[in-house]
Symmetry: C2
Subunit: 163 residues, 2 copies
């Protein structure tokens, strides 16, 4: 498993936010019900997105969340990095955002010379990051819209009806 549900839920949350243009903020409760996800857990996830400056929040009564930028300006590498903390193929690749090498595989020789596997993991990591960077939230919102034929008339919960 490359990603945890943090990435899954977080991306779903952003897609949901992207669907409602922006106007009034959307409450987590609405999203949780719409996607069938645990509210309390979503709270912690959205906190990560907020800290990364991807969403903005309004507190109090009719508060909620909205995207900080347009969906087309949000690339998924930034999203996943914010949610997962790092996208490293291996323990020794915890580059903690510096962008350097930092390959210190404990096992191996004594000095931190490159393992043979370093070549492999480097390629994989670069590939993943590139793929993520090339996909924008706008694409996902678009894809999602085409996946749901009906809807909009049944109004399952208070998502679209309230306010």
């Amino acid at each position: 498993m490359i990603f945890t549900t943090k990435a899954e839920y977080g991306v779903r949350l952003l897609v949901e936010l992207g669907r409602q243009s922006q106007r009034h903020p959307v409450s987590l409760k609405a999203i949780a019900e719409a996607e069938g996800l645990p509210l309390a857990y979503l709270e912690r996830i959205v906190a990560l997105l907020k800290r990364a400056g991807l969403v903005e929040s309004t507190r109090g009564a009719h508060g909620g969340y909205r995207l900080a930028r347009g969906p087309a300006a949000i690339a998924m590498d930034e999203v996943v990095l914010a949610l997962e903390g790092t996208v490293a193929p291996m323990e020794c690749f915890v580059d903690d955002r510096a962008g350097g090498g930092r390959v210190l595989c404990s096992h191996h020789d004594d000095e931190g010379r490159g393992c043979a596997t370093k070549l492999l993991w480097t390629r994989v990591q670069a590939g993943v990051l590139k793929t993520l960077g090339q996909t924008t939230l706008a694409e996902l919102v678009d894809f999602d819209a085409r996946q749901r034929p009906r809807e909009r008339a049944d109004a399952t919960a208070t998502a679209t009806t309230a306010a």
Copy 2:
């Protein structure tokens, strides 16, 4: 962390096997000492590689393991798949080698329609698999050889001396 140490150790093991042309088989003990890895754990890992037909074994006295094919004919996607069982970005992507869709994200609507995230994870998975498939064991062995300047004269263990 995309991969576990199974992949790390397994690849190291193969690189080590690739270094010793083939002639006589190499014992796990020699590899464990050379790489500083726990022998008992390596046993379980090499079993996965054997089951996948990547290495062959000789039992008894001067037994050990050798590559089943030349290093250039071993691509890393096959290796990692054998070691990790699957390379799925998400739980719902456990395609169990069938190659189909099988995306049944529990949360979501009711029927197994594609999540919006499906698009993303599909791209990532394809990217990783492609990267792995384009790297051969021969490349890693080569890379490893250039990373070690000296050696070959000190003979740390019984790896090259015995027999």
